[in-house]
Assembly symmetry: C2
Homo-oligomer: 451 residues x 2
C-alpha cells in the first residue's frame, strides 16, 4: 500500500503510521478515535483522483479530511472495528491543495482549492471590499472543502444563507477515481441535476471535493452593529426574537443563550448582565443605524449596542465556557421551526433533568438551530451512557417539533443511522439509492451519514 | 385506464381525449405538440401518489404539469412517437392542488401546494409586508411546482437567488408512488442528502413535487428604482455592467438588450432612446437613494431613473416584441461567466450571420444569462432547420466560454441529450445514475432532461 501511494503523492506525503492527529477530529472531545492504514497528502486534484482510483480498485476505504474541525466524527476514519473498507482505510487530507486558483474581485468570485481555510477566503474577500459570509467557526483551521462537505453554517447564515448558497461550482473526484467539474464561475446553471448541491453536505460519502468556485458579495456599506438584551425567561426571550422577525429588519444574525449557557459564559459578557438574566438574545444589523434602532426597540428595554469584535470574541468562547463547567460535554445541533424554538430549549433542559444531567443550549435562534448540550465529567462512563440516551430523546424531540436532527454539523459518525427518525421510509430509500448510485462499492467515508 | 384513474380522481377529472391545451406548453411556439392517453387533475397529494402508483405498476409514463409556461417542452408529453411509456402516457396536472396550507408572515414562511401560482405567492407576501423575490415571468399562469421543477430564475434572482434559495422543504411523490416530505419550515437541515435540491430543477424526471415550504423576506425598506442607460456598442455596455459590479452596490437586477432586441423593442421604451443606441443596460436598486445614485454614476452619462411599473411592463414585453419582428423565433437561455458576456452576445449574432439568420439576445446580464434568439418566419421549414444547427453552435459557444447550455429554462425535451457537451463523461454518468436510482423504471417524464 505505502509504496504504491508513495508513487502517486511522493514518499514524504504518505504518513505510514497514521499519526493520531490525522485520525481524529473535533469529535475527540467525545472520545472518538479512528484508525487508518495510511494518511496521504496529495498536492493536486489529479493526485487525489489517482489515490481514489488506486483505493477504489482494491476495496480500500477513502476518508477525506479537511481541517478536522467537525463535531460529528465525519473525518474520523473507521472509529470502531469492522467499519473500515474490506482492504483497509486511507485518509486523504486536502491540506496541500491550498491554492487560490483565481480571484476576480470585480466579478465577485473566487476559485479555491479544497484545503484553503475559511479564514483565508474571508480575509482575501475583505481586503478587496467583498464578503464571504459563511462563518462556521474555527475559521483558521476549517477548510473550504470541509465547509462544502458539511454545508457548513454559522451565525451570519441567518441573513446570508449556508455554504450551498455561495458555491457555484465544484471540482470533485467521483467513483471510481474520476475528476469532474460541475458548475463553475457561471452564476446560474440548470442543465444537469444539482450535483453541486448533492455533493455539498454529502460529508465525503459521495466523492471528494477538490476545488470550488465561490460567489462573493460587496461588503455591507454599513458597519455591523450587534445589539443584545437579557430576559428573565425563555418565553420572554423567544417573544423578543419574534418581535425582531416582525420588525421589518433583516438582521445579519439572531443568536441566543439559555440560562445554563449564560451561567457558564455570563461572567465575561462585555459590560456585564443583569442578575436575573436567564436568557440572552444577540442580533446584529449591517444595514444602517435606522435598522439598529429598530432592533433595539424590538428587543425592548435593556437592549444595548455592543462593539462587534468584543461581542463576537465573547460569543466564540461560549462553547468552551460551557465545556469548562464540568470539563466535558455532549453537544448536538438540532434544528426546529422558529415557532417551536422555546419548546426545543426547555425540552433540552427537561431531557437532561430526566437523566440527572445538567443541560443547556445556545445557538442560531433565527434559524431555529440549537446547540443542545449535556454537561459531562470527563471519564465518567455512567454519565456518558446517560447522555447518549438523552441525545436519542433529543433527536425524537427535534423530529416531534417538525425539525431536524442536524442543522449544521451533519450526521458524520456520531449520528449515523438516525435519519430514519426524521424521514419516511421512501425518503430514506432515496437517500440510500443516491449513495449506492454514486459510490457503488461503498468506499467513500464508510459508516458516515448512513440513514 | 380511464375508469381506473376515475376511481382515484373522480370521473370529471380524467380528461379522456387529452385536449391539446394539456399536451403542449409554451414550446408550442416552436411547434412542439405532445400526445397523452389521459390527463388527470388530482385534488390532493394523496391522489397524486395513487395515480403515480397506478402508472408505475403498469409501465405507464407520468408527465407532471404545472402552468405550462416552460420554453423547453418539459411539460409536453411524448412529443415524438416512441418516447411515451411502454404502456402509454398520463399527464398529471397539478392545477387543483392550489391551497396555501399555512402562512406565517411573522416567521417569514409559507407552505403552498404545487398548483399555487407564482403571482399568488408574491401577492400574499406583498400584502403582508414580505417579498417572494423569484420572478420567472408569466406569473399569473406559472405555478410554484413548475418553478421548483425547473429551479426557475428571473431578473431579480441576481440579488436574491433562484428558486432553490427559497425552498426549505418539499413534499413529493417518488417512485413507485410514495408521498414523502423532506425539509419543512426549519430553515437549516443537513441530516440527509440534499433531496430538496435534487428535486429542484429535476424537471419532473425524479418525482412530482406536490407542495413546498418557502422562505420569504421582509420587503426592502426602500422603493425599487430602475435606472437605464443606452450605449453605442456591446463593449461599452458590458464595460458599464462591470462598472456596476465594481460600484460596491448590490443591485436587485442587471439586465441588458443588444442591438437586435433593442430594434424590436426600442419604440415603446419609456421616454425613448438615443438614435445611436445599440445596447441597453437596466439596473435596479432597492437599497436606498445613495445606491441609486451610485448606479447612475456607474452607468455613466445618459443614465436615468425610470418608473418601476412602466419600465418592467416594457421589459416583460421584450420577448413578444422580438417574436413580432418575423412572426417566430427560436430562443435559448445559455449562461456564461460574466467576463465572457460580450463574447456570448456577439457570438450569438455571428452564429446567426453564418446561417443567414437574424439573431439577437437580451437577458439577465448580472447572472451572465442570455436569451440568445434566432428570428424565424412561421412555417419556414428551411429556416427552422438552419436555426436548429445554429442552436447547436450556440451551445458549443456557451460551453467554450465556460458556461452552460441552460441558465434557467432547463433541458426539457428541446435540449435533451445535450448535457454531454457541458459535462465530462464521469459527471454525465453520475447524472444518469441519479435518474436510474430514483426512477428505476424510467417512467417520470421520459425523454426529458436526458444527458
Amino acid at each position: 500500500m505505502h509504496s504504491d501511494l508513495a508513487r502517486i503523492v511522493g514518499e514524504q506525503y504518505v504518513l505510514k503510521d497514521a499519526p493520531a492527529e490525522w485520525t481524529q477530529d473535533a469529535s475527540i472531545a467525545m472520545g472518538l478515535r479512528g484508525h487508518a492504514d495510511a494518511v496521504v497528502l496529495p498536492a493536486t486534484a489529479d493526485e487525489v483522483a489517482s489515490v481514489v482510483a488506486w483505493c477504489y480498485e482494491r476495496g480500500v476505504a477513502i476518508v477525506p479530511r479537511g481541517g478536522g474541525t467537525g463535531y460529528s466524527g465525519g473525518a474520523t476514519p473507521a472509529p470502531v472495528p469492522g467499519t473500515a473498507g474490506p482492504e483497509g482505510t486511507v485518509v486523504v487530507a486536502l491540506d496541500r491543495l491550498d491554492r487560490i486558483r483565481s480571484f476576480d474581485p470585480g466579478l465577485w468570485r473566487i476559485e479555491v482549492e479544497a484545503g484553503v481555510t475559511t479564514q483565508t477566503i474571508a480575509r482575501r474577500a475583505r481586503e478587496n471590499g467583498l464578503m464571504f459570509p459563511v462563518d462556521p467557526g474555527a475559521a483558521e483551521q476549517s477548510q473550504i472543502g470541509g465547509n462544502i462537505a458539511t454545508n457548513a453554517g454559522g451565525p451570519h447564515c441567518f441573513k446570508y444563507g449556508v455554504t450551498r448558497a455561495w458555491v457555484t461550482g465544484v471540482e470533485a473526484v467521483l467513483a471510481p477515481g474520476e475528476l469532474v467539474s460541475v458548475g463553475g464561475p457561471t452564476r446560474k446553471d440548470v442543465a444537469g441535476y444539482d450535483l453541486v448541491g448533492l455533493l455539498t453536505g454529502s460529508e465525503g460519502t459521495l466523492g471528494i471535493v477538490t476545488a470550488a468556485w465561490l460567489r462573493l458579495l460587496p461588503a455591507p456599506p454599513h458597519p455591523a452593529v450587534p445589539v443584545a438584551c437579557a430576559y428573565p425567561t425563555v418565553d420572554a426571550g423567544c417573544a423578543a426574537i419574534e418581535a425582531v422577525m416582525a420588525s421589518g429588519v433583516v438582521p445579519a444574525t439572531i443568536e441566543y443563550l439559555d440560562a445554563g449557557a449564560l451561567a457558564a459564559a455570563a461572567a465575561s459578557f462585555p459590560g456585564g448582565l443583569p442578575a436575573d438574566a436567564q436568557f440572552l438574545v444577540v442580533c446584529e444589523a449591517d444595514s444602517g443605524q435606522a435598522d439598529v434602532a429598530e432592533l433595539l426597540e424590538a428587543l425592548g428595554p435593556g437592549a444595548r449596542r455592543h462593539e462587534p469584535r468584543e461581542l463576537w470574541r465573547w460569543r466564540d468562547g461560549v462553547g468552551i465556557a460551557v465545556t469548562a463547567v464540568q470539563g466535558g460535554k455532549l453537544s448536538e445541533d438540532i434544528g426546529v421551526p422558529l415557532d417551536r424554538l422555546a419548546e426545543g430549549i426547555t425540552g433540552t433542559v427537561e431531557i437532561g433533568l430526566r437523566h440527572g444531567l445538567d443541560a443547556c443550549s445556545w445557538g442560531h435562534a433565527g434559524d431555529g438551530n440549537l446547540h443542545s448540550t449535556f454537561l459531562l465529567r470527563p471519564g465518567d462512563r455512567e454519565q456518558l451512557a446517560k447522555a447518549e440516551v438523552a441525545v436519542e430523546e433529543l433527536f425524537d424531540l427535534a423530529v416531534s417539533l417538525g425539525g431536524t436532527i442536524s442543522g449544521e454539523h451533519g450526521l458524520g459518525w456520531l449520528k449515523r443511522g438516525q435519519l430514519h427518525k426524521q424521514w419516511a421510509p421512501a425518503a430514506v430509500r432515496a437517500h440510500r439509492a443516491v449513495k449506492d448510485a454514486l459510490d457503488p462499492a461503498g468506499l467513500f467515508n464508510p459508516g458516515k451519514k448512513t440513514a
